[in-house]
Symmetry: C2
């Protein structure tokens, strides 16, 4: 049960890295980050492009260019990140993946699933990158290398 894909994982790690290295100021160089986090440069670039398109990050091309936060880490929730990288309907999908069913004629597991799913959703919607970035444990955990 891998819940989020590599894209999601890498995106999360990259943003956590950025959030916990903000003293850096200026733009983060993607190549440097990909080396640091041991993620393919091209793959990371693509992920960050998506986050830029979604209005979470801001990019700047050319020498000394790179990416930085557009929104503040305090205003970026885990849910924002996950939705951007895994799809807007990430928190609305069914346990079974059956399309087209739901409230109208719910299967016997619907209620269980809704409650569990809503817990997850709430946690992710109320946790910001800043919350995580400030967590000192990050520094000793390989999540951000």
């Amino acid at each position: 049960m891998r819940v989020i894909s590599k894209s999601g994982e890498y995106g999360l790690r990259a943003l956590l890295y950025m959030a916990s290295n903000q003293e850096n100021a200026g733009y983060f160089n993607i190549r440097e980050m990909s080396d640091e986090l041991d993620i393919s440069f091209h793959f990371l670039t693509k992920i960050l492009q998506v986050l830029t398109q979604k209005g979470i990050l801001q990019s700047y091309r050319g020498p000394n260019g790179g990416i930085t936060f557009l929104k503040n880490p305090e205003d970026i929730t885990l849910a924002d990140l996950i939705r951007a990288l895994e799809g807007d309907d990430f928190f609305d999908k069914c346990l079974l993946g059956l399309p087209g069913c739901g409230e109208r004629q719910p299967c016997p597991m619907h209620a269980y699933w809704m409650s569990i799913r809503n817990n997850l959703k709430t946690e992710f919607e109320t946790t910001t990158l800043a919350d995580l970035g400030n967590d000192t444990r990050l520094k000793q955990f390989r999540l951000i290398a």
Copy 2:
């Protein structure tokens, strides 16, 4: 976020079908079930074989053979089924899928994840096939066609 695979879905649907058609007595013919549930015969056969190997079902070869419950539906939890078809560690995996980390040096999301995961686990461990099979809604829902 499809949480369970087709195998899991088909297995669940097959067992629900069986649980809610127990008046049938005797063995369920797999071909008939696969027609009824619109699942590939060979694929369903394979899934049911696994459940037989795991001690959930019982099979009988030859004419009028088929499968039936070895354990009673009241004694088969959703967790049993899911573990059999998705792997024993289904409820113990990490949100990120990172191997080798955990309690010792948890990442900042560990606590959230544990609590959510344990909810899911508890629901699935306390819900039996009989609970679901007795649910009248099943009869009008396409889960069991």
